[in-house]
């Protein structure tokens, strides 16, 4: 599961291009272009057509990714170095497929959630889906990239549509969220790019394979700047300040999207870089451990005080980034992948409940809106309870399995203190997650509304059922979930691949 390292490059198979390996990405590209063409239409009907076309495209790409199990392949697209040897610019391996599947599944769920939500607000436009697909394409590029420049371009292709998606609702809150997101996103891109420039200066290359074994002051500064840029993108504390405002102001299905897919893609870049910069892995491991500690603690402590569900979930996402960073610090990429997959489905589920229940009059973003809902809408209550249990990390949910795997790997890597901090944080988070459940089942709304909020759209209901099913499968049958996301269950494979790479240095 490791990325190619210099010693292995000679054995690595680099080919120009292969239609089979790129079938999922090309399907996504074709869908994106078709939906762009559909965006010419103005009518509501064309928007619905675009939504279904994008959904079919994403689903087809996901199925193709799921079915492919070719060995790891590296692609040069005809690029050669000065000696005429092919350069590995892009890789298609099981890790790339996992990241792609995480992104595609969350994208599909968010498309399903968005149809009803946007239609209710008169904001259903075909461009929404064109931008979503271009964003997913950016994530695909990040997931397979072996080159820092390609990573930068992938991140930009992912971010630019996100800035616009945040703006997809009338009123100032949405456009303010968009502007905040844009300014911080562009700021972090500046860090990312300057860091890449310094890395280029210290190695003479932007290929990940050439970073192996490099350790110079310039390289260290460059890597630090890149990590700062990525920390902004994943909203790890202390670079998280934008997240609550943006998550709060953006339309709820878009918020669900923000919390899941782009975060996983940015984590892909983080993991690849962390693995490539092998000479300084020990130092970076410590820094990530500290970052994880800060993220978990700050995220959970502030989430405790929130009265607004979307803001609470935003701070909780900062905490969850912290948990995933525990895995990065331990160098356990499989557990990080599983956790990201689990977090993607459970956060889409939690935001999705708010999105599906909301109407034009009631945004359903305050915690008080959920008082007494558990008995009036039993199915919604059960679903929300499942997502909250999973976010807390209680069985039988994907969140539990994810945390278990992470803590086990972190303990094995000698980060016992971090496991204790993370476990304490999980206990702390139970207070506010289960607070939502208590609110739903044990309190009465202050004034009885004429109609309790309900799920009006079948598509949103389908998305919630799918998310709930995945969360449950992740807890009850972790192996099935791992297979579904192409996460290798064979830890021995990693161990075997690590030995020659260490020897090669």
């Amino acid at each position: 599961m490791n990325r190619p390292l210099k010693g292995l490059m000679t054995m690595m198979q680099i080919i120009d291009f292969d239609w089979g390996a790129f079938a999922p990405s090309l399907t996504l590209l074709a869908a994106a272009l078709i939906v762009c063409a559909l965006s010419m239409g103005h009518s509501q009907a064309s928007a619905v057509r675009a939504a279904w076309a994008s959904l079919i495209g994403v689903a087809a790409a996901a199925v193709l990714t799921l079915m492919s199990d070719a060995p790891a392949l590296y692609f040069s697209f005809g690029a050669q170095d000065a000696d005429g040897n092919p350069i590995a610019l892009f890789s298609v391996d099981s890790m790339m497929r996992s990241f792609m599947l995480i992104c595609l599944v969350s994208t599909a769920l968010c498309i399903l959630l968005s149809i009803g939500y946007l239609r209710q607000r008169g904001a259903l436009r075909p461009e929404f889906y064109a931008l979503t697909l271009l964003c997913a394409l950016g994530m695909t590029i990040i997931a397979g990239s072996q080159d820092l420049i390609l990573i930068f371009i992938g991140i930009e292709l992912m971010s630019l549509p996100l800035y616009i998606l945040a703006c997809f609702q009338r009123g100032s809150a949405s456009s303010e969220a968009s502007m905040k997101y844009f300014l911080l996103g562009a700021f972090s891109s500046g860090f990312l790019l300057f860091g890449i420039a310094l890395i280029f200066g210290s190695t003479g290359s932007t290929l990940l394979q050439d970073l192996t074994g490099v350790s110079s002051p310039l390289f260290a500064i460059g890597l630090a700047l890149v990590f700062v840029g990525l920390a902004f993108k994943i909203a790890a504390a202390p670079f998280h300040q934008w997240a609550p405002d943006v998550y709060h102001g953006a339309p709820t299905p878009v918020t669900a999207f923000f919390a899941s897919a782009p975060k996983a893609a940015a984590f892909a870049a983080l993991l690849y870089l962390f693995q490539a910069a092998s000479a300084m892995r020990a130092e970076w491991s410590t820094i990530f451990a500290v970052l994880a500690c800060i993220s978990m603690t700050i995220g959970n402590l502030i989430a405790l005080t929130q009265k607004n569900l979307k803001r609470m979930l935003a701070y909780s996402s900062v905490a969850h980034v912290g948990y995933a960073l525990v895995g990065v610090a331990a160098g356990a990429s499989e557990s990080v992948l599983f956790y990201l997959a689990a977090y993607a489905v459970m956060s889409v589920g939690a935001f999705g409940v708010a999105s599906a229940l909301s109407s034009k009059e009631n945004e359903m973003s305050e915690l008080n809106d959920y008082a007494g809902l558990g008995f009036r809408r039993p199915l919604v209550g059960i679903g929300m309870t499942l997502f909250m249990l999973s976010l807390t990390g209680l069985p039988p949910t994907a969140g539990f399995t994810g945390k278990l795997l992470l803590f086990k790997d972190a303990y094995a890597a000698g980060l016992g203190w971090l496991v204790i901090v993370a476990a304490l944080n999980s206990a702390l988070s139970a207070y506010y997650y289960l607070g939502v459940v208590v609110k739903m089942y044990m309190t009465q709304p202050s004034k009885e509304p004429a109609h309790a909020p309900s799920i009006r759209h079948k598509t949103a209901a389908a998305a919630l059922i799918a998310a709930a099913a995945l969360v449950f499968i992740g807890g009850a049958a972790p192996k099935a979930m791992m297979n579904a996301f192409h996460i290798s269950t064979d830890a021995a494979e990693t161990a075997v691949q690590n030995v020659p790479s260490e020897a090669a240095q």
Binding site: G78, Q80, A130, L131, L150, L157, L160, I164, R170, S172
Partner: protein, 181 residues
């Protein structure tokens, strides 16, 4: 002689950058940005990166900053109360962080260059076909990034169109939008 010209352009670029953040009127900030962009373009010429220099002048000074100026004029920002900013503590923190970064990164970059690497660098840039080799590089080795950038431009195009079509349309349910002229 050329050394002094180079130094003058460097000082101009740095001064322009500082003026961008010191001027309170955004029109002056934008004009200072043009100054920096042109000085950088001149520096690229003197380093032999001719094509980059032309692109820098055309894209940054010619398109990007003009777009900035256009938006500033469109919003008529000079008359806005919002412009009255107070600097104070934030400025101190910003200046401190900036100085720290210049110290660390600038110092490292100053120290890291090794003279032995210069021997080969001169030849690569001396040849007349510099633009040609750059083009080869761009369309052979960097073909995929190039195509990906075209997707970014497509996303930007769709994004701007949707912002203008969606938020620009006067709507009955949002009275705030109608009084922005």
């Amino acid at each position: 002689m050329s050394a002094w010209i180079m130094a003058a352009f460097m000082l101009t670029a740095a001064a322009g950058a500082v003026m961008v953040i010191l001027y309170r009127n955004p029109v002056y900030s934008a004009l200072s940005l043009v100054l920096t962009m042109f000085a950088l373009s001149a520096i690229y010429v003197m380093m032999g990166a001719y094509f980059i220099a032309v692109a820098q002048a055309l894209v940054y000074a010619g398109a990007i900053v003009v777009l900035f100026l256009f938006v500033i004029m469109l919003l008529n920002l000079r008359n806005q109360q919002a412009l009255k900013e107070s600097f104070g503590l934030r400025a101190a923190v910003g200046a401190l962080l900036g100085a720290l970064f210049i110290g660390v990164a600038g110092g490292t970059m100053w120290a890291v260059l090794s003279p032995d690497q210069f021997s080969k660098s001169a030849e690569v840039f001396k040849d007349e076909g510099h633009t040609e080799s750059l083009a080869r590089l761009l369309f052979k080795n960097n073909l995929v990034p190039f195509e990906a950038v075209s997707l970014i431009l497509l996303a930007a195009l769709i994004g701007v169109v949707v912002l203008i079509r969606f938020h620009g349309r006067p709507s009955s349910d949002n009275s705030e939008e109608s009084n922005d002229a």
